[in-house]
């Protein structure tokens, strides 16, 4: 962890962007222009960390612990790449390695590629996982739910897990400091649904239609399934009876026929 403290200090002073850090040419130009004295130190510190990224020793915080560490997004808006170590330490994922979630950086050398893939929470939060993590895969498999359907359809405004749960600061839903704590939901939901009232999240956000949980949604859904199956069976039965009556000559077969 020693190099983490050293690097974070340097990076914090320089306030480099991610693009600058991961692009040697731009990094060099920026550093030369900004702070010539430290232009040697940064490549050296990076060179010292130019090793394979492993789960056991990710060294990610050597850069990402700097509060000013950021990158320019494709939309022209700067995005912070800072990881609050205190928040991370108090989160439910405190014992996890960075690479447990950011799997696309496994096996890469530092400096790693500049583009990170979105974290797939369902890698762990799936049914049958052996880690004991909450299973949310049913939410993604159920198209009747607004958020699940939006995600599956890749709607531009579809919420990702982190939009509600946060990223490195994720806490249990029973923790009052959690963004998904019952009392915090109006504010969290209000980010996308302005004006959401205090009763907004009176029921589940992750709807799982069972008789015990989300019973109203469950029974409405069951009613419609029975209605669709019942009505379609009745329609098909009636049509078959009608066709039979025409086939055996009790009703007209062709247009204009009185009898077959």
């Amino acid at each position: 962890m020693a190099d983490i403290h050293i690097d974070s200090g340097i990076v914090g002073i320089l306030n480099l962007t991610s693009t600058e850090r991961h692009n040697p040419k731009r990094r060099e130009n920026t550093m030369t222009g900004r702070l010539p004295v430290l232009s040697i130190l940064i490549p050296l510190s990076l060179a010292a960390g130019a090793r394979m990224v492993t789960a056991a020793e990710p060294a990610c915080l050597s850069c990402h612990s700097a509060p000013g560490f950021r990158e320019m997004g494709a939309n022209g808006v700067e995005k912070s790449l800072y990881v609050d170590q205190a928040a991370l330490a108090s989160s439910v994922h405190a014992s996890k390695s960075c690479l447990d979630c950011h799997v696309d950086f496994r096996g890469q050398s530092l400096p790693h590629k500049p583009t990170a893939q979105p974290v797939q929470c369902v890698r762990c939060h799936r049914s049958g996982n052996t880690l004991g993590t909450p299973d949310v895969s049913r939410i993604h498999n159920f198209a009747d739910i607004v958020h699940g359907s939006a995600l599956k359809n890749a709607k531009p405004d579809a919420p990702q897990c982190e939009d509600c749960h946060g990223t490195h600061e994720i806490r249990r839903a029973t923790d009052p400091k959690s963004t998904v704590y019952r009392g915090s939901l109006p504010a969290t939901c209000g980010k996308c649904h302005p004006g959401a009232g205090k009763d907004f999240a009176a029921e589940s956000i992750h709807v799982l239609t069972t008789p015990k949980r989300d019973a109203v949604v469950y029974w409405v859904r069951m009613f419609y399934i029975l209605l669709v199956v019942g009505l379609m069976s009745s329609f098909c039965g009636y049509i078959l009876l009608d066709l039979r009556a025409r086939w055996i000559g009790r009703l007209a077969w062709r247009r204009g026929d009185h009898r077959r």
């Binding site: 359907s149 709807v207 419609y224 329609f235 026929d257």
Partner: protein, 245 residues
């Protein structure tokens, strides 16, 4: 019934006015647009969904088209309510479409006829129990679809007053009611007006608004009888015991 060159043309009766036919075409167009553009939301994993989204130019465009068609359906529904309550012909049609006890007995008699318990089919008036059921189901379904669709469209405004679970229920209703409506049209309505051997390949009433004398006599004998009674100087013809429905 094959017509010959010397045979007089069969008399035809008006069944749908031009106004009603235009309403039907608008309903048909908006309905199928809503079905096609709503399919990707109901079945996001289907390869058909990705084709539809690609065809219409993306998910956002899909949403716009869906909502445009919804506006057309809402406008038509509002117009139809005024038409059926304020116009003389509309009120007459509405009265004829109201369910009555005879519809229940007609349905039972029809089933008894199919299984051979009675030799005669029921005598239908202007609208039989199937047509009444279709119309009322369409009306009720439209109200539900419009109400839940508006909740989902204006979800933030909805959530200002209602808890989230109402939106989940609205989505379930919107989704399954759409499925029900689509299947009802494809299975039930298409059989009645397209695939039924007696009208195959298609009843032309929705295009020219007319029905032949033979079809009126056999499909709606009570209405046929009433029309003849109203016509001066034309005797009433007794209806046959068996009707070639």
């Amino acid at each position: 019934m094959t017509s010959t060159p010397d045979a007089p043309a069969e008399r035809r009766f008006k069944r749908m006015t031009l106004n009603q036919r235009i309403q039907h075409i608008i309903l048909m167009t908006s309905f199928f647009t809503l079905v096609v553009t709503g399919f990707p939301v109901r079945y996001p994993d289907s390869p058909v969904s990705s084709k539809i989204i690609q065809l219409v130019g993306g998910f956002t465009m899909r949403s716009r088209i869906h909502r445009l068609a919804a506006c057309v359906l809402i406008g038509l529904t509002v117009y139809h309510v005024f038409y059926m309550t304020l116009s003389k012909h509309g009120r007459s049609e509405l009265r004829a479409l109201m369910p009555a006890f005879k519809d229940a007995t007609d349905a039972i008699q029809m089933l008894k006829f199919y299984v051979g318990l009675t030799p005669n089919t029921p005598l239908f008036d202007r609208f039989n129990f199937i047509e009444k059921f279709e119309y009322l189901a369409l009306g009720w379904g439209s109200i539900l679809m419009i109400a839940t669709g508006l909740m989902l469209w204006f979800q933030n405004q909805t959530l200002e007053y209602l808890p989230k679970w109402t939106l989940d229920v609205a989505r379930v209703i919107h989704s399954y009611e759409a499925l029900l409506g689509f299947l009802a049209i494809i299975v039930w309505h298409f059989y009645q007006v397209h695939l039924n051997p007696q009208v195959f390949p298609m009843s032309r009433v929705w295009l020219d608004g007319e029905i032949s004398e033979h079809q009126l006599k056999t499909l709606h004998p009570l209405e046929y009888e009433r029309i003849l009674k109203q016509e001066v100087g034309r005797p009433t013809q007794p209806h046959p015991k068996n009707h070639s429905l």
